[in-house]
């Protein structure tokens, strides 16, 4: 699925030279690897520093539907979702994890955040839109194993020499969530 836009304001990516594209691709991928390392190391406060004040962190509900019904495969914004968070809610999630009584994460989960298939689809001024494949692997206690795979659309914004995440929309490949909970951050 290509999402290259015609909007002239959004055509920077299309006009960029190959070396410039390669550099930006490198920069974006390194950012995602560093971000994943923070989450895997449970450095949630440091992760929050990468989150823009106007973030929309959203995971709609996916359904098994027929081909004729594919436009209803995911719930729409404003309907039910698994995550529909602004910055305040993400801060609450981190506060909960730090509370010392977040039993679903104490003993803590062991997680590995993988990102791949990073495709920059749009560059508009300070904002870079990416389409990313992710795999979050988690084990808990003695024998719990969870694995979430999906696609996400991120918007990264250049701020003070680095990036901040201004949007993260997560589209899981599961319909029935095959896990006790989703107490980790994606």
């Amino acid at each position: 699925m290509t999402e290259v836009k015609i909007d002239p304001r959004a055509s920077d990516w299309a006009r960029m030279s190959l070396p410039d594209r390669a550099l930006l691709q490198y920069e974006v991928e390194q950012f995602f690897y560093d971000e994943a390392a923070l989450l895997d190391a449970r450095r949630y406060r440091d992760w929050l520093a990468l989150i823009a004040d106007d973030i929309h962190y959203w995971m709609p509900i996916r359904r098994t539907v027929t081909m004729s019904d594919l436009d209803r495969e995911f719930t729409k914004p404003g309907d039910m979702a698994f995550f529909d968070d602004d910055r305040e809610l993400l801060e609450m999630r981190v506060k909960k994890l730090e509370a010392g009584s977040a039993w679903s994460e104490d003993p803590p989960s062991r997680s590995r955040h993988f990102v791949s298939n990073v495709r920059i689809t749009d560059v508009a001024g300070d904002e870079i839109t990416c389409d990313v494949a992710f795999h979050l692997y988690r084990t808990r206690l003695e024998s719990e194993v969870d694995s979430w795979v999906g696609r996400r659309t991120d918007v990264l914004r250049r701020e003070g020499g680095g990036f901040r995440i201004a949007k993260r929309h997560l589209f899981l490949d599961q319909t029935l969530i095959r896990a006790t909970n989703m107490s980790t951050l994606f």
Binding site: M80, D85, R93, A102, W103, S104, T180, N181
Partner: protein, 453 residues
């Protein structure tokens, strides 16, 4: 009709009754893990009882369908051309293949992907490829329609179905407590389901998930981190010394915070307009309008707690969400969350209510995240030879409380945090499990108690 009762030989009436002792609150841990008991539950509880299927707003038009379960039997809940809701077993009468493989949608008819048998929205077999050529017209289509639930009925727009022809009518089955629970959902007006049913699976027995909804003892401890995150204020909601319990026919119950009778008496004198701003210095759900007393009864309207329609339909957040706990073997349960909204709710109300629904419950909810492991580890400890012999101790409040009956006959208990709801659930469970058919259950089940409990 008496069932065949897989497991009925090993678990006879006396053996089942020994699994829970209402006099001491002792619960045999095998109820959470025994395979034969689980098989018997599928027959004697799920196939026999009235199961929640869907809300009318999920399938408004002919052909709209939603897939649900009666125990482990998958069913299609579909509205037909006449506007009737049918509940059909999702299995082709030829070779058993599933007809519907999407979890919701719209269909003109249901065509089997195996050999193309075609069924109408009312379950009639309307087309069989090769009926003339291969079957040589030696075939009775009328005898091979989709199997329908024995009874389908609705209350306040909530559809239920049972596989038992001898089950009492839905309204009788629900009784006062079941009707009060569903009335709670509609107390601010007619509702509709918001698009998106959250579904996840937990490695626990379905009953421990159910009995936890009566448990207001765990809130301060299990959910301490959600409390300190700022997402909710447990102290403002919990009111541990103002709890209200209602125990109903066939195992239904409501347990949780209750508005004290003297506060409700003041609310009763107010107009609906005045009620929208009344708080009485407490952060309770909004004072309910007058119509709520008609739906929930003069005493039931005080409940801010959790109803459960036996066996597995939990109503929470003052009726904003309902949750099904679907059995998937003794050690696995699917959790399905439905979110409801008063029709025509203003955008700011809807937005705030959805924020609450998404962020408290569901697998990523800040409250519910911490429930699943308690349930799976408690289930797991019902398997080991030594630990399963220990039983569980459901003793809180036993023998210390009094049932009151109001002028209209509603029965309730005003008390502090307690385990009456859990005891009533397991007591009723033993009665359902010991009875071989509806006649036996009706003859032998406990009436909602009076006096000291």
């Amino acid at each position: 009709m008496a069932d065949g009762g897989a497991g009925a030989e090993r678990w006879d009436r006396a053996a089942i009754q020994s699994l829970f002792d209402p006099e001491s609150g002792w619960l045999d841990r095998r109820v959470l893990s025994d395979e034969a008991l689980y098989r018997l539950e599928l027959e004697r509880i799920f196939a026999r009882g009235w199961n929640f299927m869907c809300h009318e707003s999920q399938i408004p038009n002919p052909g709209d369908y939603f897939i649900n379960y009666i125990g482990e039997d998958q069913v299609i809940c579909v509205r037909d051309e006449e506007g009737r809701v049918n509940v059909l077993l999702n299995t082709c009468r030829h070779r058993g293949n599933a007809l519907c493989r999407a979890e919701q949608g719209r269909a003109k008819s249901f065509v089997c992907s195996y050999h193309g048998w075609n069924y109408g929205l009312d379950g009639r077999l309307i087309g069989v490829p090769g009926q003339k050529t291969y079957y040589r017209d030696d075939f009775d289509r009328g005898a091979l329609g989709l199997v329908k639930a024995a009874q389908v009925d609705s209350y306040l727009g909530f559809y239920f179905a049972t596989m038992a022809a001898d089950a009492p009518p839905l309204a009788d089955y629900l009784g006062d407590v079941g009707r009060t629970g569903l009335g709670m959902i509609c107390s601010f007006g007619e509702v509709e389901v918001i698009d998106g049913i959250q579904k996840n699976v937990i490695g626990c027995n379905w009953k421990i998930a159910v009995d936890n909804l009566f448990d207001w003892y765990h809130v301060m401890y299990s959910h301490a981190s959600a409390n300190s995150s700022g997402i909710f204020n447990a102290a403002a909601i919990l009111h541990p010394n103002e709890q209200m319990v209602m125990l109903g026919e066939f195992g239904h119950a409501i347990s949780g915070p209750g508005v004290p009778a003297d506060v409700q008496a003041q609310i009763d004198l107010m107009s609906d307009e005045e009620r929208t701003t009344a708080s009485f210095g407490r952060d309770m759900a909004r004072a309910r309008p007058r119509r709520a007393s008609e739906l929930m009864g003069a005493s039931g309207v005080r409940s801010m707690g959790h109803p459960n329609i036996f066996p597995n339909l939990w109503i929470t957040l003052g009726g904003l969400q309902i949750c099904l706990r679907l059995p998937r073997g003794p050690l696995r349960t699917e959790i399905w969350w439905f979110t409801l909204m008063p029709k025509g709710a203003p955008p700011h109300f809807r937005e705030r209510a959805l924020r609450t629904a998404i962020h408290l419950f569901g697998p990523a909810g800040l409250l519910e995240q911490d429930d699943g492991e308690n349930w799976s580890q408690s289930t797991r400890s019902s398997i080991g030879v030594a630990s399963r012999k220990l039983g569980q101790a459901l003793k809180m409040g036993l023998g210390h409380d009094q049932v009151t009956t109001d002028a209209a006959g509603q029965r309730f208990i005003d008390t502090c945090v307690n385990e009456h709801g859990q005891r009533w659930l397991y007591r009723s469970w033993t009665e359902w499990m010991a009875a071989r058919d509806w006649a036996e259950l009706i003859a032998h089940h406990s009436a909602p108690p009076t006096g000291v409990v």
